[in-house]
Amino acid sequence: MAVLVWVVEGTWPACVDAAKAYPNADITLLHVSGHDVPHAAHGAFAGLLGRRGLDPGTTLESLASTSGSDLLASAASRLGRPCTRLERSGRVEREVVAAAEGAELLVVARDGDHGRPGPKSLGPASRYVVDHAPCPVLLVWAGESGHGGWG
């Protein structure tokens, strides 16, 4: 069974723990760095008409790829068994849907706070993924905030 785990900052440990319930599965850990974040920095720099020097957006692009692989390394070590690591960049929700092609299960963490009724538990990106995923989706809550067992 091919299981794809979408690793997102903050909520990923719950997804990795959920994937542990499938001991015989081929697990792929996926992290996507959104283009939007470095592009916002590119835009801000472009708005500084006439300034020279290093575009902070370029710095952010290289930082993003490092932090993405660090995150996948932490997730792999929490999983504790062989898995495939996949780091992508682009429009987050589209990259996740594209990567889920061929998977038999996609593990996604809900956003927001379990303990508090209020904002919807799916942000725009995870909403899109749930709506368009080509395979079954397992939605998990990212543990109760502030408790142990993270990282």
Partner: protein
């Protein structure tokens, strides 16, 4: 000597040419390469008389000097590790909690923008904030968007916070401390309004907490921090005794430069590079061309639509007009165009223009529609950017912060007096 509509036509063509080249950056050439010859053409064709052009250079020279000093000060602070140390402190304080990190970024970016100018926040602080979010295990979008927004919204407090303020500072006839006093209220409420919108807009990303990675914290560069604080005090003192506060900025930059040179942490070449001479030449040339455009007819045309007086409605209208103009072209030419028109109405109008041109650019992704359109046309890689979310955020924050700030300005003017 050209006259009437012909002179205005020549000036407008030159301005458009300079702005287009500044945005497109053909072959990566400095903007001054086009702007300085364009200013020379404006003088040679008589679109602007030599004495008027010279007056403009004399008026802008202290502004440009002040700006250069602050750019050097910020770069030397970065070299000393001030921003990295701030990032480490921010990470410890946030302790893996996205809400705390966002609040910390709002505080830090607001102060850095106000004291070391928006350039420092965009170029030097944003990468540090991204790295801090990554170390804290927090999604980077809200903190990075906060940096880009605050580099505009929080650039209203001091004359040094934004080049637009420096340009207006002399025209406003205000002292450094009076400027800061009148803008303190608008600055606080604009940042608060922005924060409230961010908390709601990114609510789904801000819940929960993560386990931050533990790393060696760099030492706070106390000397650099003390120099910045002393420079701030210097602004107040110089302004009180009637000396140009640019001297305080120059002294601060000189102290850090001498120390870094003595310790061989920088070179004279690097210090000169951070002065960014082509950029300063660009500002002077742009000033001359805009003066030609304004004097040859635009001024008279706009004077009819500029509301007069310090009433709340007039201030709101002036700020809205400034915000629209900043979004159409760029806030630098926008402020140069509007300043001569509102300077006569007193400090209230000038400060309302500044609120508009400083907060307004958050509405568009690259600070202005012109910049955005050109970048999209010229740079293929910008096509896959989702502008929807950024624009929705701007549509929520800009009206909220701008209206709140103008109301606060109106209150300050009543309380402190223009």
């Amino acid at each position: 000597m050209l006259s009437g509509w012909l002179a205005e036509g020549v000036s407008v063509v030159l301005l458009v040419l300079v702005l287009v080249c500044a945005v497109v950056r053909p072959r990566g050439l400095p903007e001054a390469v086009v702007a300085v010859p364009a200013a020379a053409v404006a003088v040679l064709t008589g679109a602007i008389g030599l004495p008027h052009a010279w007056d403009e250079v004399v008026r802008l020279a202290p502004v440009v000097w002040f700006l250069a000093a602050v750019l050097v000060l910020a770069q030397l602070c970065a070299d000393e590790g001030l921003f990295r140390a701030c990032g480490a402190w921010l990470g410890r304080w946030a302790a893996g909690r996205p809400q705390r990190l966002l609040a910390g970024v709002f505080g830090l970016a607001s102060v850095i923008t106000a004291v070391l100018s928006l350039d420092a926040t965009v170029v030097l602080l944003t990468p540090v904030v991204f790295a801090t979010a990554a170390r804290a295990g927090v999604r980077p979008k809200a903190p990075v968007y906060a940096c880009t927004h605050l580099s505009n919204t929080a650039s209203t407090l001091l004359p040094v916070s934004n080049l637009t303020n420096l340009l207006a500072f002399t025209a406003s006839g205000l002292s450094f401390t009076r400027f800061a006093g009148l803008m303190a209220g608008p600055w606080v409420v604009a940042v608060l309004a922005e924060y409230l919108v961010f908390r709601r807009f990114f609510a789904h990303e801000l819940a929960g907490s993560a386990e931050p990675r533990h790393e060696e914290a760099p030492e706070m560069p106390v000397f650099a921090l003390a120099t910045v604080v002393a420079t701030l005090a210097g602004f107040v003192v110089t302004s009180a005794v009637g000396v140009d506060p640019a001297w305080a900025a120059t002294a601060g930059a000189a102290v850090l430069a001498v120390r870094a040179l003595a310790r061989r942490r920088t070179t004279v070449r690097k210090v000169v590079a951070s002065v960014s001479l082509p950029f300063l030449a660009f500002v002077l040339a742009l000033g001359i061309i805009v003066k030609a455009v304004v004097d040859n007819g635009l001024g008279a045309a706009l004077a009819r639509v500029i509301p007069d007086g310090n009433g709340l409605v007039a201030l709101l209208a002036v700020a809205a007009l400034a915000a629209v103009l900043a979004n159409l072209i760029n806030n630098l030419p926008a402020v140069l165009v509007l300043l001569p028109l509102v300077a006569a109405t007193g400090p209230g109008g000038v400060l309302a223009v500044l609120l508009g041109v400083n907060i307004g650019p958050n509405l568009t992704y690259a600070g202005s529609l012109a910049t955005l359109l050109w970048r999209r046309i010229v740079h293929q890689h910008d096509h896959d950017v989702d502008l929807g979310e950024f624009t929705r955020l701007g549509l929520l924050t800009v009206p909220a912060s701008l209206v709140a700030a103008v109301v606060a300005l109106w209150g300050s003017l009543l309380l402190i007096g223009g």
